[in-house]
Symmetry: C2
Subunit: 496 residues, 2 copies
C-alpha cells in the first residue's frame, strides 16, 4: 500500500495523518449506550463503525486500549439538566430497582453486540463505578474557578470558561449565538447562565440513585463521566474519541470544557463522529414511526420491512457506507447487500481453493495488476477507514479471483508470492478488519438442498404412479416435522 492512515478529525474538520502520541500504542474512547432500553440501530451503527476502527488499528499492529462506557446514571430524559434520570424513570415504570434496569439492558446490549460480531472493548467502565473520580474532577473544576455550587448543585461556568478558552469549538458553536438562541432563566433554575451545565445534581427526595459528596447527596451530571473515565484509563490527552454526531454538542464540547477546566489539557487528539440513519430517505425516528430495532430488522417483523436480514448482512450493509455518511435503509438496498455479502463470501471460499503451485509468475503485468488491487483495498481503509470503498475494491478482487478460478485468466501469470498475499490479505480484511463471517445455517442450507431433491423425486414418483415412494416420502417428512404444501406455483415446505 502507498498510503498512511488518515483520519478526518471532527475538531480540525481536516483529514490528518494519524500519529498516536505514544508510537505503537493507541488510546481510544467511544461513548457507549445509556442502558435504559433496547439499543437502537443508530447506536449499533456507531459501535460497528468503531469496531472496525479498532480492528483495523489492531490489524495495522497498534496495541490499542479501547474503552467504551456504560452510562448507568446521570443521563436525564431529554438529554438536559432538568428532569428525571432515564434509568430511574424506566425503573419506576417497570417497578424495578434502577440497577436491575441497568443489568437487564446492559445484558441485552452485549447480546446484540455479540450477534453483530463486535469485539468487546478492553475496558467497559460504568458511571456508577467512578463516582469518587467524578467528585474529584468536579472539585478540580471548582478549584480552578470554572465551577460553582448553589444549594447542592454544581454547575460549569460557561461564560467564565469561554473568556479563557473557546467553548463549543468542536461543534463550531459560537457563544453569542448560543446565548441569543437560549431561553432566559425564568427563575426556575439556580444557574448563573442558562448555558451553564450541571456537573453534580442534588438528589431530590426519593431519588434512588444518589451518593454522598462534598455538596450533599446527589449524582453526577451526564457529561462528566466520559471526561473522567476516558482520562482515567487513557491519560489526560489521548488519541481517538468517537461517538454519534448527535453527541458533538453539547456532550463532547462539554467534555472538552471539563478536561480543560480541570486539568488544563485538551483531552482528545482525533475526534471521530458517525452519521445518522435514514429510512427510505427520511430521518429515522420514533415519532416518524419509521424506526426499527435490531431484532426487528433481523426477523423482518416491522411494517416497513419486506423480509428479515441476517446479522452479517446488516453489518455488511452498514459497512457499505462510510461511517461519516448518512446511511439509508431500504428493502432494495438491504436485499442488494444480502446478495453482495453472499458474493463476497463465495469469493472468500474461492480464493482459498486457488492452487498456489500453479502460480508461476509468467505475466508481470497481471502480477502487478493483482498487487495494485490489493494495495487499493488498504488505500481505501487508510483513507479515514473508508469501508464503503474498500468493499468496492474487494469486489474488484472478487472478479479477479473468479477469473483465476474459472480459468478466464491464467493463474500461471501471477507469482506464488502474490497469490499467497492475495489469499492472506483478502481473508484478513474480510474476516479480521471488517469482522464479517460465514453465517451458520450451513445445516439449514444443506436441509434446503436435500429438500429440493426430495420434492423433485416425489414429483417423479407421482409422475410414474409410484405411490409407494411418494407415501414413504410423506411419512418420513412427517416424522421430521416437515410440512409440504402443493400449490399452484409448485410445492413449498416448512418446518414445524
Amino acid at each position: 500500500m502507498n498510503s498512511k492512515l488518515q483520519i478526518v478529525n471532527s475538531l480540525s474538520r481536516k483529514k490528518e495523518i494519524f500519529e498516536p502520541s505514544v508510537p505503537g500504542h493507541v488510546g481510544m474512547y467511544v461513548c457507549g449506550p445509556t442502558v435504559y432500553s433496547d439499543v437502537h440501530l443508530g447506536n449499533v451503527r456507531t459501535f460497528i463503525s468503531f469496531d472496525v476502527v479498532y480492528r483495523y488499528l489492531v490489524h495495522l499492529g497498534f496495541k490499542v486500549r479501547y474503552v467504551r462506557n456504560i452510562t448507568d446514571v446521570g443521563h436525564l430524559v431529554g438529554d438536559i439538566d432538568e428532569g428525571e434520570d432515564k434509568i430511574a424513570k424506566k425503573a419506576r415504570l417497570e417497578n424495578l430497582e434502577p440497577m436491575e434496569i441497568v443489568q437487564k439492558y446492559a445484558n441485552g446490549f452485549h447480546d446484540v453486540m455479540n450477534i453483530f460480531n463486535a469485539i468487546p472493548p478492553s475496558i467497559e467502565p460504568t458511571a456508577t463505578g467512578h463516582l469518587i473520580e467524578q467528585i474529584e474532577m468536579v472539585q478540580r473544576i471548582i478549584d480552578n474557578g470554572y465551577g460553582y455550587e448553589v444549594g447542592g448543585n454544581v454547575y460549569f461556568d460557561v461564560l467564565k470558561f469561554d473568556k479563557d478558552h473557546p467553548y463549543g469549538k468542536l461543534s463550531g458553536r459560537i457563544l453569542e449565538d448560543l446565548q441569543s438562541g437560549s431561553r432566559d432563566l425564568d427563575g426556575q433554575s439556580d444557574k448563573r447562565n442558562s448555558l451553564d451545565f450541571a456537573l453534580w445534581k442534588k438528589a431530590e427526595k426519593g431519588h434512588l440513585m444518589r451518593w454522598n459528596s462534598p455538596w450533599g447527596l446527589g449524582f453526577p451530571g451526564w457529561h462528566l463521566e466520559c471526561s473522567v473515565m476516558s482520562t482515567k484509563y487513557l491519560g489526560t490527552s489521548f488519541d481517538i474519541h468517537g461517538g454519534g454526531m448527535d453527541l458533538k454538542f453539547p456532550h463532547h464540547d462539554c467534555e472538552i470544557a471539563q478536561s480543560v477546566a480541570a486539568d488544563g489539557a485538551d483531552p482528545v487528539r482525533y475526534w471521530m463522529h458517525t452519521n445518522m440513519l435514514t429510512v427510505n430517505g427520511q430521518k429515522m425516528s420514533k415519532s416518524a414511526n419509521n424506526s426499527f430495532l435490531p431484532h426487528e430488522l433481523i426477523s423482518g417483523d416491522h411494517p416497513l420491512l419486506t423480509q428479515g436480514y441476517s446479522p452479517m448482512t446488516i453489518r455488511f450493509f452498514m459497512l457499505q457506507s462510510h461511517y461519516a455518511s448518512e446511511l439509508d435503509f431500504s428493502n432494495e438496498a438491504l436485499q442488494a447487500s444480502e446478495k453482495g455479502f453472499q458474493r463476497l463470501m463465495n469469493a472468500l471460499e474461492a480464493v482459498e481453493s486457488l492452487d498456489v503451485s500453479k502460480a508461476k509468475g509468467t505475466d508481470a503485468e497481471e502480477n502487478k495488476q493483482l498487487n495494485d488491487l490489493i494495495d487499493a483495498v488498504y488505500d481505501e481503509l487508510n483513507d479515514d477507514f473508508n469501508t464503503a470503498k474498500a468493499i468496492a475494491r474487494l469486489f474488484d478482487l472478487s472478479k479477479k479471483i473468479n477469473s483465476y478460478k474459472e480459468g478466464v485468466i491464467d493463474i500461471a501469470g501471477v507469482s506464488a508470492e502474490s497469490l499467497e498475499r492475495l489469499q492472506k490479505e483478502f481473508h484478513a480484511v474480510i474476516v479480521h478488519v471488517l469482522g464479517l463471517k460465514k453465517e451458520s445455517g450451513g445445516d439449514t442450507k444443506v436441509a434446503a438442498g436435500l429438500m429440493e431433491l426430495i420434492l423433485e423425486m416425489r414429483k417423479d414418483a407421482r409422475g410414474r404412479k409410484d405411490y409407494d415412494t411418494s407415501d414413504k416420502i410423506r411419512d418420513v417428512l412427517q416424522e421430521l416435522n416437515i410440512v409440504i404444501k402443493d400449490g399452484k406455483e409448485g410445492t413449498s415446505w416448512s418446518m414445524n
Copy 2:
C-alpha cells in the same frame, strides 16, 4: 405436592421452612468470582447450584431479586490481608491495566455461564462500583467502636466485637481457638490483634487501584464489598446468602461481623453453602495436578479425561449431586450422566407425543400413582433443593412415560387432566427449574433424516436401474459437499 420448601441453613445447621421476610419476595445474594483468571469448575458448580435455587424460587412464584457480585479489587493473593491484589498481580504479569484484566475475565466468565445455561443475576455489582458505599460502611464501623485506623489502614477489632457479639458463629469458630492457632504479630503488622482483618488498606506506592478516602489513598478490604452490595440492594437483613463452603470462614463470618458492627443487624436469614469438587475421590487442586477448567472438560483435552462432555451433560452431572454434597468427577460417572441426560431428553420428547385424547381416567389406582410420582419430584426439590433425588424421581416418571408410549400401561387409565399435568410439570422441572435443554444439532438431525430417505431412494432407483435418478442424487449431494460411500455394511455419508 405435600411439602413446603425447606432449606438447610448453614447458620443454624438445621433444616428450616423457608419463609421470606416479605411474603412473595426473595432477596438472594451469591458471592461471585474474582475476575483475575478463568473461572474454575468449583465456581461453576456453585453458580449452577444457585442458578437452580433462583430458577426454582421463580418457578414457585416468588419475585426474586438475585444479586451476584464481581470482585474487581481488594482480593489479595492468598485470601489474606497482606500481599498483592490478585488482579493487580495478573495485570503486572500480562502487562495490562488492571481494569483490562477485569474486563477480559469478566467476559470469559459470562461466556462460561452462558454455555452452561445459567440465567444472569438481576444485578451484578462490582466492588469498584461501590467505593463510596464501602467507605461509608467503614466509617460506621469506626463510629460504632469496632474499627480503628492505623497509618492509613483501617482494621476490624475482632476482640472488641466478640465481647458484644459472637464472632465466627457461622463457621463455628471459637475465638480462643482462633487465637491460640494464629501466629503472633511479629512487628510487621500494625494490627492490634492478628485476628483483626482489614476494612481499608493503604495503597502502597505504585499501586494502580486506589481511591481517596478519609484515611488517605487506598482500597477496600476484600470482605467489605459483599456486606455493602448485598445490603445496598437487598436491605440490611435479607433472605438468602450463598457461596462456596470455602468462603464460610473468614469471608462470610466477617460479613456478619461487619453488618452487625455497622448496622446492628444480622444480615442474612438463610445461609447456603455448596460443597467441594473431588476428582476420582481426591480433592481437586492445582497442586495435585488434577484440576481441569470448564473448557477442558468440554473438549476432553486433559490427561485425566478420556473424552469431552457437552455443557448440558456437565450441568446434568452436577445436578445429580445435592449441592451440599461433595461432587466427584470420574470418567465413569460423567459417561453415565451423558447416557442419563439423553434418556431424560428422550422421555421429554416422548411425553410431549402422548395423546391426551386417549386418557380417559379409567384406572383410579394408576391415576393416583402418576400424580404421586409428580408430587415426589416437588417433594425432593422442596427438601433443600435436592436436585439429585428430584432427578431420580424424574427417571421414575420417565419409565412411566415410556410405558404409556409403548402401550405397556394403557394410557386410558389416567385422566386427561393428570396427563396434561404430567406433560406440563415434566417439561417445567427439566427445562425451567433444572435449566436443561436439548443441545443443538436440530438441523443436523433433520439433515440426517433427509439423507436416510435419499439414500433409500437411491438404492430403490438403482434397483430399478433408474440411473437418471441415481445420477441426479449424486450430483445434488456433490453440490452440497456431501460425500457418500458405499461399503459392506451399507452406505454411509459425511459432509466435507
